[in-house]
Symmetry: C2
Subunit: 230 residues, 2 copies
Amino acid sequence: MSEFDRFQREQAPSWEDICRALYRKNRNKIRIKKEEVAVRNLQRVLQAALTLSRSKGFHAMTLRDLSRATGLSTGALYSCFASKRDLHRILWEQGVLFTVRYLRDRLRNTASPVERLREAIRCHIYLSEMFSSWFCFLYMDARNLSRMEKGKAIRNEMATERIFHAILMDGMRSGEFVIQDGCLTAAAIKALLQDWYLKRWKYRRLKVTPDTYAEYVAQLVLASINGMSR
Amino acid sequence: MSEFDRFQREQAPSWEDICRALYRKNRNKIRIKKEEVAVRNLQRVLQAALTLSRSKGFHAMTLRDLSRATGLSTGALYSCFASKRDLHRILWEQGVLFTVRYLRDRLRNTASPVERLREAIRCHIYLSEMFSSWFCFLYMDARNLSRMEKGKAIRNEMATERIFHAILMDGMRSGEFVIQDGCLTAAAIKALLQDWYLKRWKYRRLKVTPDTYAEYVAQLVLASINGMSR
DNA sequence: GTCTATAGTGCGATAGAC
DNA sequence: GTCTATCGCACTATAGAC
């Protein structure tokens, strides 16, 4: 059993947990009152919406598409969300803070910067592997956001990056890393992590597993951290 | 004057040249018969379409938006293209082969693999800097493609990547590079190059120039190519 | 070639029966 | 809660005057 399999079975959050949390947070906007019904429907609706968004984009997805994919009528859909725009907001808000929180949580017990860097890369790849359609949505459908929401989006992009930046700075202070430009290195790590879920088809074709890719990214970054000062 | 400035003034293709080539290729689908008028309008239309696509996505852009941005009526727009879908196809087809051809052309006179790698990275960044809205369109709006077109899209993505892959293999044969997995390294280079135009706002905020970024990517890759075997 | 006006289509959203 | 039926609207595309 690979590391990723273990993560998937034992540590990863489940769709049901996520939808339950999401329901409790948005009770006022969701017309369904029985929690069990709401959670069951939300799960179907959100998963279908993300799948459709991946293949044609959120804006191009119609509520008729969503109705067909979930088996619910368009009328029933509107008991899960107030408008299509509101569905976008729900998917957005829930996804946005998730990664940062999860990473922070998992890094609490790591000792050295090297170990912390490896663990952060691994966790990000595992998370994005399990929720790849959600990660793609957050990346590709950040347009259609209002001005205020766009500010949030940028702050979020930077929040993940700051986690990596902080690890790099720790490593510099302790003398383990030699880095020319921490901001560029953090940006490069982020770009490599995003490629994993945005070009999933490519890595599948190359038969690269999440663990292999995580190790590759870690080695690439570590080599540059030690090698670029020469 | 920076290297990029020189490229921009002396070597880069101009919008007018591109639109003229595009007009001659699509004469049968474009109703305007005077070449000068057609080229002038195409330039306005394509640039506006790409700008709007970047901010809200091609699908979300309406012909009313495009009409407002170009100062042409919706009726006049239809003398430049047969349908909105056709406009998408034109932008797509012209953009797709462009990068590969240009890179191949520029690499013909480079001597060593190291030099060739540096030059390929630099050229890609320069091109994407000058035509960033076009590169973003090719990346973000590859959905809404028909099945056959999607096959082309994948083949194109791989074509650019193969250029980098070939350089890496050359370097291995000549003993200059030590690489574990050429495919993964080529994919990583591509991901880093794409980040430049997809997250342009970030690098602008960090005050990173095209030349700085090109040098950073080259050094990162070269460090890993020499360092990962340890 | 470019305009204005409009036909035809498919969308998001809602009303009311069950 | 979920369904069917339908409203009003914004869109793409075209027709016909200039």
